[in-house]
């Protein structure tokens, strides 16, 4: 039992509440918030692997002192292996994901503190709450606990959008909440059906009762539960039919907020995708659903990005489209494919945050995000332009940057799994992604400056440039040494693929 495991969730919540107390002391808040946010990526590095049982209620098999003296009705049956408490499981994959989430959160919060006029207030609170809920979503092994934090993450997303003061943010937030008001109860209904069939909400226990034959795995109720959970998966991560609302959410948030929000949806996608794979992977239809939805997300997201004229909306759609790559990796069902998909998830979080913060400097300087009204920014900020260009290369998968490695792995995995068509589509979509990016880049940086464009803030804060450099460094590091990442993911993906290497 490592106390650092629950602290990963508790620290951001305490940060959020504590910073709200210090209202209107901007200078103090800046210093304290950066220090506290720095703890977020450090905690997963320091924590050691293990399980955390809340209240100390370990399964009876692991707790011999408690099990002595109990009747054989309990110790002699499967009851002794069940998890009586909420369980957090912290393994290699979780370590990597929470580190990446913490890193993106730290950089986004740092940039937001320097780019917003008033750092105190609810914005930081919402960001920290979102990080706390996503950490819990990644850690938890209890599907009801997952639902609770899923709701908190949705509320935090809405909060980040509400405080942005971008035109039309309230309308988008309300639309997102109404859809969430339908999707979240359906997730709870799916959980209720699983609970009704197996009598458990712990994912490990649900799987063991399905595998050991205590419950008939071909029960149609389980198929229904699968459908309901997949539906909320579509909502939580913004796959079609929710891709328009999700990209609108990104475009109505401030750029640093959007950088964090896309990390939330990618990790929700990964966490719920892993749960679906773990519980329902024996149903052949689940794999087909994941593959189909991901393919649709990739094609719809990326082609719709090409048609947009608002930079933030464009990258919102690209972020949705990139989710398709992860889903394809997960849907292939082989260990290599799943590793590739999860690697792509890590890369996508980093690169999309990089792009959002990079293009966010334009919004900071001009207050404008329509590409028809922008131009000539290269002269003002050549360094940022170069960094953004590199981010675009990374997204398209140019070596030696990180997405090259993961996209290569994905293509290899699709050929190994006997679906080379998917590889071809992925390459084509990469080209379209790059085209979209170059369209935005050309319009913003290389075209001559329109006369009516006025610059509000001449100088970009040092913190933003520092954040961009950190992102670039991590991208190059993962691109040159991909085994740094895949080493953490191997155990999880082998277990997800049913023990086959």
């Amino acid at each position: 039992m490592d106390l650092l495991i629950p602290l990963m969730v508790i620290v951001p919540i305490i940060c959020a509440l504590f910073l709200n107390l210090l209202h209107k002391k901007d200078r103090t808040i800046k210093a304290i918030a950066i220090t506290l946010a720095l703890i977020l990526p450090l905690l997963p590095i320091l924590a050691s692997y293990g399980m955390h049982y809340f209240g100390g209620y370990a399964p009876l098999t692991e707790n011999p002192t408690l099990s002595t003296g109990l009747p054989s009705l309990i110790t002699g049956t499967a009851l002794k292996t069940f998890h009586p408490a909420i369980t957090y499981s912290f393994q290699g994959a979780q370590k990597l994901f929470i580190f990446i989430l913490g890193l993106v959160a730290f950089l986004a919060i740092m940039v937001s503190l320097f780019e917003t006029k008033r750092p105190s207030g609810v914005y930081g609170f919402m960001m920290f709450m979102g990080v706390a809920s996503l950490t819990a979503i990644l850690l938890t092994d209890d599907i009801f606990n997952f639902y609770v934090f899923f709701e908190i993450a949705a509320l935090a997303t809405v909060g980040v959008v509400l405080v942005s003061q971008v035109k039309g943010n309230y309308e988008t937030a309300l639309k997102y909440m109404i859809l969430g008001g339908i999707a979240s109860p359906l997730l709870l209904l799916g959980i209720a059906l699983l609970l009704g069939v197996t009598g458990n909400v712990n994912i490990t226990d649900i799987i063991s009762s399905l595998k050991s034959g205590m419950v008939n795995p071909q029960n149609p109720v389980i198929l229904m539960a699968c459908g309901l959970i997949v539906f909320s998966w579509l909502y939580g991560s913004g796959l079609p039919p929710f891709h328009t609302i999700k990209s609108a959410i990104y475009s109505k948030a401030l750029p640093h907020g959007a950088a964090l929000l896309q990390a939330f949806s990618v990790f929700t996608f990964v966490a719920l995708g892993i749960i679906i794979l773990r519980i329902f992977s024996y149903l052949p239809i689940s794999q087909m659903i994941i593959l189909g939805v991901s393919l649709l997300a990739m094609i719809l997201g990326i082609t719709m990005a090409l048609l947009q004229t608002d930079i933030k909306r464009m990258f919102g759609f690209l972020a949705v489209g990139e989710l398709g790559y992860i889903g394809l990796g997960l849907g292939l069902g082989t260990a290599y494919g799943i590793t590739a998909g999860l690697f792509q998830a890590v890369n996508e979080v980093l690169i999309t945050a990089f792009l959002f913060i990079g293009f966010g400097t334009i919004y900071y300087q001009t207050g404008e995000s329509d590409i028809r009204k922008l131009g000539g920014m290269m002269i003002k900020t050549p360094l940022v332009a170069l960094l953004v260009l590199l981010a675009g290369f990374a997204m398209a998968g140019v070596p030696p940057l990180n997405a090259f490695q993961s996209k290569l792995m994905l293509i290899q995995a699709s050929i190994q799994a006997g679906l080379p068509e998917l590889g071809v589509i992925m390459i084509l979509m990469s080209i379209v992604t790059f085209m979209t990016f170059m369209k935005a880049f050309h319009a913003v940086y290389m075209r001559p400056k329109p006369v009516e464009l006025e610059i509000k803030n001449e100088k970009i804060p040092q913190a933003t440039i520092l954040a961009l450099l950190v992102f670039l460094a991590v991208c190059i590091l993962f691109g040159l040494f991909p085994h740094l990442v895949t080493g953490f993911l191997q155990t999880l993906s082998i277990s997800l693929a049913g023990g086959m290497p």
Binding site: V148, Y170, E171, I182, P185, L195
Partner: protein, 120 residues
């Protein structure tokens, strides 16, 4: 009675969910949409409660003097009930946020029509 209490409760829950989804999707007034969403949440909660109900059982409170085995065989299953407590509170708070947004939007648009406010 032909159908027992548990089955009837499940049907009621299903009816509430269907009514709620109908209201949230097809009614044009934003307040009505929110009321519909509240009904979806209520229906899900009732579904969970009906799942933990035991026909002819007793309340899951272990009083002194009860035989342990008899209690274990007759008590309702308390896990869904604990979940519903959380779910009720989450539903109420989500609804409060939505109503707050609606008040702001009314000031801006002067209308509660979803087709006018949410349609781009």
């Amino acid at each position: 009675m032909i159908i027992d209490t548990q089955l009837a409760s499940l049907f009621t829950a299903g009816a509430l969910i269907v009514i709620g989804i109908f209201a949230a999707v097809f009614l044009d007034n934003l307040i009505k949409k929110v009321i519909g969403l509240a009904f979806i949440g209520d229906g899900t909660n009732l579904f969970l409660i009906a799942m933990g109900y035991k026909p002819g059982g007793i309340v899951y409170i272990y009083l002194p003097g009860m035989a342990r085995d008899w209690f274990a065989q007759n008590a309702a299953y308390p896990l869904p009930f604990a979940m519903v407590l959380t779910s009720i509170v989450i539903g109420a708070s989500t609804m409060a946020v939505m109503l707050g947004i609606i008040m702001v939007l009314y000031k801006k648009h002067g209308s509660l029509k979803a087709s006018k406010i949410l349609g781009d």
